[in-house]
């Protein structure tokens, strides 16, 4: 059962939700790159397990990290809703984008996997930038 509550607890207690989301997204990016090395069925299962765990960890603090950016809790619904509506287009575009990359590279998954890993790592850096924009360039800020 563990990853989400554990990540949420650690975020509240020590790290801060946005920092935690950034770290977990980076971890997810790294896990995505290990996908490149998967060639067997057992390897695929192991990858699926780690992908699931790190995805759960990242998404567990997804809402919490926006909440820590939102000063007025009465605006939380609207603001998170706006993020979700933007995300809607991402979910719609994701599989076809990957599909197009796969078609371009002649049915090979390699470039699509590299694309996914890079985009997730880029997401982590963007989150880090959001955190810096909110707090300034300080290393030890709990947010």
């Amino acid at each position: 059962m563990p990853s989400r509550p554990v990540v949420g607890y650690v975020a509240d207690r020590w790290v801060g939700p946005i920092n935690m989301y950034t770290l977990m997204t980076l971890l997810l990016g790294i896990v995505s790159f290990t996908w490149l090395g998967v060639s067997s069925r057992v390897g695929m299962y192991v990858f699926a397990v780690f992908f699931g765990i790190s995805n759960g960890a990242a998404q567990g603090v997804f809402v919490g990290s926006l909440a820590s950016l939102t000063k007025d809790p009465r605006k939380m619904g609207t603001r998170f809703g706006m993020v979700c509506t933007t995300v809607a287009f991402a979910t719609l575009a994701g599989p076809p984008t990957a599909g197009a990359i796969i078609d371009r590279s002649g049915g090979e998954y390699l470039w699509a996997q590299i694309w996914a890993g890079l985009v997730i790592v880029l997401a982590a850096f963007t989150m880090a930038a959001a955190r810096c924009a909110a707090t300034g360039f300080k290393l030890k800020v709990k947010i």
Binding site: R41, S68, T78, M82
Partner: protein, 307 residues
């Protein structure tokens, strides 16, 4: 605003100033005053009940869609449609679930917590029931893609806003616990349908899952107890939020994250199919990926031995 101020004034009159504890416990059921006055309790039975309600709603909102792996195989085998065409139903469902969040989020902020959740639940249960009667592609597309998708998005947002208002120091912990519902739901719903199809047939299996959804909805609505004063005025979309750099960067980061992550979900199951295992095994791998954070390896092992 005036009603809230009246409550605040009368409470201040009734309760002596030197008994702040009494003030807070007496007015627990009353809608609280302005945010400046209000301190989140950060715990207690009422607050954790909201987390439980959020967990149930998450079970439906993000757990239920993972049933689509089971549906997809059924539609392919019985309707003889190409997989790409069928998967449009699932994609549209997810897309609409996210898309409607701005509306349901604004409604939640305006104080329509229970009514918004009830409306969403009605659409989900109705859409699922209609799916059980559907025999043509366009019927399934409307019932499962459009109706259920809209419902899932509408019901998802209000509990989050409520949980957010009950916690401050333990906020991420509370929100993360409510998010475990996603994993629970993505094990419960597919397993229900998968078990029942051979026993009672597809239409009744889907109807039973609609009843499960109805039960979960009623339970969560009974538990929800909004406490913030509604923010009635104000536009649907708060465009000024996009002038705040952290918010814009956060939104961009979330966009990138979900852009790539759905490729992950989608292709973990697809690649497994290429590597070549039995079809039922595939469903299990694909349904378990979102639930993986929840379900331990033990559960997966017991499931694969069952099927």
């Amino acid at each position: 605003m005036t009603a809230g101020l009246d409550i605040e004034k009368s409470a201040a009159v009734c309760v002596p100033r030197d008994h702040p504890e009494q003030y807070s416990s007496d007015s627990e059921d009353v809608a609280h005053a302005t945010t400046a006055e209000f301190q989140p309790p950060d715990g207690g039975l009422v607050a954790w009940t909201q987390v439980a309600a959020g967990c149930l709603v998450n079970m439906m909102a993000w757990g239920y869609p993972s049933t689509f792996g089971v549906f997809q195989l059924y539609y392919r085998d019985t309707l003889g449609l190409p997989e790409a065409q069928i998967s449009w139903i699932g994609s549209l469902q997810t897309f609409l679930a996210f898309l409607t969040c701005t509306f349901s989020g604004r409604l939640a902020d305006a104080g329509y917590i229970r009514s918004t959740v009830i409306a969403g639940c009605f659409l989900v249960v109705f859409g699922t029931l209609m799916t059980s009667f559907a025999t043509e592609y366009w019927q399934i597309f409307l019932a499962q893609g459009v109706c259920t998708g809209l419902g899932l998005g509408i019901m998802f947002m209000p509990p989050l806003a409520v949980i957010n208002s009950y916690f401050s120091k333990k906020r991420s912990y509370a929100l993360a616990i409510s998010a475990t519902g996603t994993g629970l739901g993505s094990v419960v719903f597919p397993a229900t349908i998968q078990y029942l199809i051979p026993q009672v047939g597809f239409p009744w299996a889907v109807r039973y899952s609609a009843f499960v959804a109805l039960f979960i909805s009623v339970a969560s609505v009974l538990m929800l107890r909004p406490q913030l004063l509604p923010r009635k005025s104000g536009p649907l979309v708060e465009w000024s939020a996009f002038k705040e750099v952290p918010y814009v960067l956060y939104t961009l980061g979330a966009f990138l994250f979900f852009w790539a992550i759905y490729f992950g979900f989608f292709f973990v199951s697809f690649v497994l199919r290429l590597i070549g295992s039995l079809p039922t095994n595939n469903i299990y791998r694909s349904t378990h990926t979102p639930g993986m954070s929840q379900a331990s390896r033990r559960l997966i092992r017991s499931n694969s031995s069952l099927y």
